[in-house]
C-alpha cells in the first residue's frame, strides 16, 4: 500500500533497452530498469549461481538479487527480451534461485526480414497480455499511444541535450549525461521530461568558450550505473570530454523514436527493432554504420571501445569495430573491462598513453585490448 492508502502500482523490472517500457507504463506498472553494476563483491555473489567466466554485468544482476538489493528486490516481475545468452540465463537464474517471476520474450536478430517484423509484433502482443495480467489493467490503444508520445518526448529532450555536445566546448560532460540517462530510467517519465526541458534551456544559454577539449566517444557494452571509473578517468583525471556514447546507457537508445503514426503495438515492434542496434543484432555492418554516423556527427577525435570481460557480443566484434574506424582515421582504444578495482592502475596507464599519442598528433594509433 502507498502512504496515501492507495494501491502501490506493480513494479516491472527489466534489464535491456529493447524492452518496450511504454507497454509497462500504459498498463499502470512502474518500469524499473535494473542496470546497476561496478561492484566486485556483488559480482562474486552472483558467481555462486553462474560461473567465473560469466559476463560481469550478468553476474552482478544475479548477485544484486542474492544480496537483496532493495531496488532489485522491489520488482514484482521481470520482463526480458532475449538479447544475449548471458542475460537470458541470468534472468533464468534469478527466477530459479530467488523466486522472482519473469516473462521471457524473443527479440529477432535479423531485423530487416519481414518475418522478424511479424514475429516481433506477436511477441509484443504476448507481452501486453502478460502485463495486463500482472497489473489487472487493460491496455487501451489510447493509453499506449499516450505512453509512446510521453517516452518519445523524453527521448527527444535527451537527444537535444546530447546535441549540445556537438559544440566545441560542450556545456555538459559525459558524466553529466549519464546522470540524465539515469533520470530517464529511474524517474516517472513526465517528471524526467520536465527536468530535461529545464536543463536544456539552461545549458543552451551557456556562453560559448574558445576551448576545444579532446573529443572522445565511448562505445561498446553497457556502462552500468556505478561503473564510473572509466568516465572519471577520461574526464576528471585525463582532461578529455566524452561527447557521445554509443552504448545502451548513453545516447544510443534515445537516438531514434517510436513511430507515432502507426497502430501502437505495431509501432512498438517496428520502433524497437529499428532502434540503434547493439552488437547482438545482425548484420554487424548496420551497427558499425550507426557508430560511424555518431562519430561524424559529434566530430570525435578518438573512440574508447569498452567490452566487459566475457561479453561475447562486444568482445568478439571489437576487432571488426577497430578496423572500420582505422580506415576512417579515427583512433580506437580497445579496453576489456570488469568490475574489479585491481586493474585501475593498468587502465590509467593504457588510457593515458593513448591520449598522449593523440595529443602528440600521432592519430593513426590503435591500441588493442
Amino acid at each position: 500500500m502507498r502512504g496515501d492508502g492507495g494501491v502501490q502500482p506493480k513494479r516491472a523490472g527489466y534489464f535491456c533497452v529493447y524492452t518496450p517500457v511504454e507497454l509497462l507504463a500504459a498498463a499502470g506498472a512502474t518500469p524499473v530498469r535494473l542496470f546497476k553494476g561496478g561492484d566486485a563483491n556483488t559480482v562474486n555473489s552472483g558467481e555462486v549461481h553462474t560461473r567465473s567466466f560469466f559476463c560481469q554485468f550478468a553476474q552482478y544482476s544475479v548477485g544484486a538479487f542474492r544480496e537483496a538489493d532493495p531496488l532489485y528486490r522491489s520488482v514484482d516481475k521481470l520482463y526480458h527480451f532475449n538479447t544475449c545468452d548471458q542475460m537470458k540465463k541470468a534472468v533464468e537464474a534469478i527466477g530459479e534461485f530467488f523466486d522472482v517471476p519473469y516473462r521471457m520474450l524473443c527479440l529477432p536478430r535479423e531485423r530487416s526480414r519481414p518475418a522478424a517484423r511479424e514475429f516481433m509484433r506477436r511477441e509484443v502482443e504476448f507481452m501486453q497480455r502478460d502485463v495486463e495480467e500482472l497489473t489487472g489493467n487493460r491496455v487501451s490503444e489510447a493509453a499506449l499511444g499516450e505512453a509512446i508520445a510521453a517516452y518519445n518526448r523524453a527521448r527527444r529532450w535527451l537527444k537535444a541535450i546530447s546535441e549540445l555536445r556537438k559544440l566545441d566546448d560542450p556545456p555538459l560532460t559525459g558524466g553529466d549525461y549519464l546522470e540524465l540517462v539515469k533520470a530517464f530510467y529511474y524517474l516517472p517519465v513526465d517528471k524526467a521530461v520536465a527536468h530535461f526541458e529545464k536543463l536544456h534551456a539552461r545549458l543552451s544559454e551557456e556562453p560559448p568558450t574558445v576551448e576545444r577539449p579532446l573529443r572522445v566517444m565511448v562505445s561498446g557494452g553497457i556502462v552500468a550505473d556505478g561503473d564510473d571509473r572509466l568516465v572519471e578517468l577520461l574526464e576528471d583525471e585525463l582532461g578529455t570530454r566524452i561527447v557521445v556514447e554509443d552504448h545502451c546507457t548513453g545516447l544510443r537508445p534515445f537516438y531514434q523514436e517510436i513511430p507515432e503514426d502507426l497502430p501502437p503495438l505495431h509501432a512498438l515492434a517496428d520502433g524497437y527493432l529499428d532502434s540503434a542496434p547493439c552488437a547482438r543484432m545482425k548484420p554487424l555492418s548496420e551497427r558499425l554504420d550507426f557508430t560511424e554516423r555518431l562519430a561524424r556527427e559529434y566530430r570525435v577525435d578518438a573512440i574508447v571501445y569498452v567490452s566487459l570481460k566475457f561479453c561475447s557480443c562486444y568482445a568478439i566484434t571489437g576487432n571488426a569495430f577497430s578496423k572500420r574506424f582505422e580506415k576512417l582515421g579515427i583512433p580506437v582504444l580497445e579496453i576489456s573491462s570488469d568490475y574489479s578495482e585491481s586493474d585501475l592502475g593498468q587502465l590509467r596507464t593504457r588510457v593515458g598513453a593513448f591520449l598522449e599519442l593523440l595529443r602528440k598528433g600521432e592519430t593513426d594509433v590503435r591500441v588493442p585490448a
Binding site: 548471458q86 524473443c106 514475429f119 552488437a279 554487424l284 568482445a315 576487432n319 577497430s322 578496423k323
Partner: protein, 408 residues
C-alpha cells in the same frame, strides 16, 4: 551376417596400451567391430571428403548437425558440420583465432577453434549456416567471418522460453518455418517439399536405428565403448556426407550388437548420462571406459534425435522439431524431462554436465539442473572443459575419477 558372434570390444579386443593414444590415433586403431571401424573411418575422412565433393563441383555447406540436416540433404548439398572441424583443431587453431581476430582469451574455446580452422580453410568452400539462437559467441564470430569472405546464412531461430506452449508456441514455430524457408531458398533456389518430406522420413528411420544402437549398448554394454557411441551419435544428422553407407553401417552395427547381446555376457560397467557439449577432450570419454563406466545417453544433443512429425507439412515438421529441440540454449528446465527419461531408461547412476570454458549459456543451465537432481538424490558433476583436441585438464580428470568412484 558372419558365422560367429563378435567379441566384446571394450574388455577383450581393445588393448590397454591405447589408453594414452590421441583421439585421432584411437580412431585409426581397430576396435574389433567392423561397423564401428568403418564409422571411425568416415569420421576421420569426413572433412577431406567434403573438400573433395567441393572440388568435384558439388554444393557443400558448413552445417547439417542440427535440424537443418533434412533441408541440406534435400538441396543435394554435402553437409560439413563445422564443429567437426574441431577434430582438426588443436591449440594452434585457438591461438590463430585469438591472434587474427583479436578474440579475448576468455572466449569459448569451441568458437575460437572453429574460427581458427575456418580461417585456415578460407580458400575452400565458403557457405555456412548459423542457427542464431544456439550460441551468442558464434553469432558474433560469424558476423566477423563475413569479412573473411564467408557467405553466411543466419537462421534467426526463436528462443523457446521455459514452459511455452499453445498459441505462443505456434507463433515460435511459425517464425521458425519462415526462417527455414529462407534457408531452403538460400541453399537451393527452389524449395522442393516432396524431397524434404522424403528426407524427413529417411532421417526418422536413421534416428530410430541410432536409438536402437544405444538401447542395445545399455542392454549389453561391453561390446562397444563410449567414444564409439559418440561417433554413432555424431553422424545421425549429417551422416558423414554418405547417407546410404551410414545407414548400412547402422544396420551392420545393430546386427553385431544383437548377436553380442545374445551371448548374455554379464557386465559390471556403470551407466552415466552425459549432458551438454561433446568436445574433443577424448581422454574424458576414454576415462569412463577405463573406470568401468560408460556413457549410456548423450542427452541435450539427444534432443536432436526427436522424430520429425510426419503428419505435418515437411517444413512445418522441421520448424516444429527445431523449436522443441532447442536443447541447451532453450529454457533450462525444459531439459529436465529428457534427462529424467534418460536416467530412467538407462538405469544411470549419475549425470555429468559438460560445458566449454566460456560457454555463454550452459553454466546457468547446469546450475539449475544440478539443483534439481541434488534434490532428487541423483549425483551429478559439472565439468568445464575445452573444445579443441588435446588432453583433458588434470583437474577434470581428477574430478571425474572421484565422481566415478563415488557412484560405484
Amino acid at each position: 551376417m558372419s558365422a560367429s558372434p563378435p567379441s566384446p570390444v571394450v574388455q577383450l579386443a581393445r588393448p590397454r596400451e591405447h589408453v594414452e593414444l590421441s583421439q585421432v590415433e584411437y580412431l585409426k586403431a581397430r576396435t574389433g567391430s567392423p561397423a564401428i571401424d568403418r564409422i571411425f573411418d568416415l569420421a576421420l575422412t569426413y572433412i577431406q571428403r567434403a573438400d573433395e565433393a567441393h572440388r568435384a563441383g558439388r554444393k557443400v555447406v558448413y552445417g547439417g548437425g542440427m535440424t537443418d540436416a533434412p533441408i541440406i540433404h534435400a538441396a543435394d548439398t554435402f553437409p560439413c558440420v563445422f564443429p567437426e572441424l574441431g577434430r582438426l583443431a588443436g591449440d594452434a587453431s585457438v591461438a590463430l583465432a585469438e591472434d587474427h581476430f583479436r578474440i579475448a582469451r576468455e572466449t569459448c574455446s569451441m568458437v575460437k577453434a572453429t574460427m581458427g580452422e575456418l580461417l585456415k580453410r578460407k580458400p575452400l568452400f565458403k557457405r555456412l549456416i548459423n542457427y542464431c539462437s544456439l550460441c551468442e559467441p558464434y553469432n558474433a564470430a560469424f558476423e566477423v567471418l563475413k569479412d573473411e569472405g564467408y557467405d553466411i546464412y543466419s537462421v534467426d531461430l526463436p528462443y523457446r522460453p521455459e514452459g511455452v506452449s499453445g498459441e505462443r508456441f505456434d507463433s515460435l514455430v511459425d517464425f521458425a518455418e519462415q526462417e527455414l524457408l529462407g534457408l531452403a531458398t538460400w541453399l537451393g533456389g527452389a524449395y522442393d517439399e516432396v524431397r524434404l518430406g522424403s528426407e524427413i522420413r529417411r532421417l526418422n528411420r536413421l534416428h530410430a536405428k541410432v536409438r536402437r544402437v544405444l538401447d542395445l549398448q545399455v542392454a549389453s554394454p561391453d561390446y562397444i565403448g563410449t567414444l564409439e557411441t559418440l561417433f554413432v551419435w555424431n553422424g545421425a544428422n549429417h551422416n558423414y556426407g554418405v547417407p546410404g553407407e551410414y545407414e548400412a553401417l547402422l544396420d551392420q552395427l545393430i546386427d553385431e550388437l544383437e548377436r553380442f547381446a545374445a551371448r548374455g555376457v554379464e557386465s559390471s560397467r556403470v551407466p552415466i548420462v552425459w549432458a551438454g557439449g561433446r568436445g574433443q577432450e577424448f581422454g574424458l570419454y576414454k576415462l569412463f571406459d577405463d573406470l568401468n563406466g560408460y556413457i549410456a545417453s548423450w542427452t541435450m544433443t539427444g534432443l536432436l534425435l526427436r522424430d520429425y512429425d510426419e503428419s505435418l507439412r515437411p517444413l512445418r515438421a522441421v520448424a516444429h522439431n527445431t523449436v522443441i529441440g532447442m536443447g541447451g540454449p532453450g529454457g533450462s528446465k525444459d531439459q529436465l524431462p529428457h534427462l529424467e527419461d534418460a536416467i530412467r531408461r538407462t538405469g544411470s547412476k549419475g549425470i555429468v554436465f559438460y560445458g566449454y570454458f566460456g560457454c555463454s549459456f550452459s553454466s546457468v543451465n547446469f546450475e539449475v539442473l544440478k539443483k534439481h537432481f541434488n534434490q532428487q538424490g541423483i549425483p551429478s558433476l559439472i565439468l568445464d572443459g575445452s573444445f579443441q583436441t588435446g588432453a583433458p585438464s588434470g583437474q577434470n580428470v581428477t574430478r571425474l575419477k572421484a565422481f566415478m568412484e563415488m557412484v560405484q
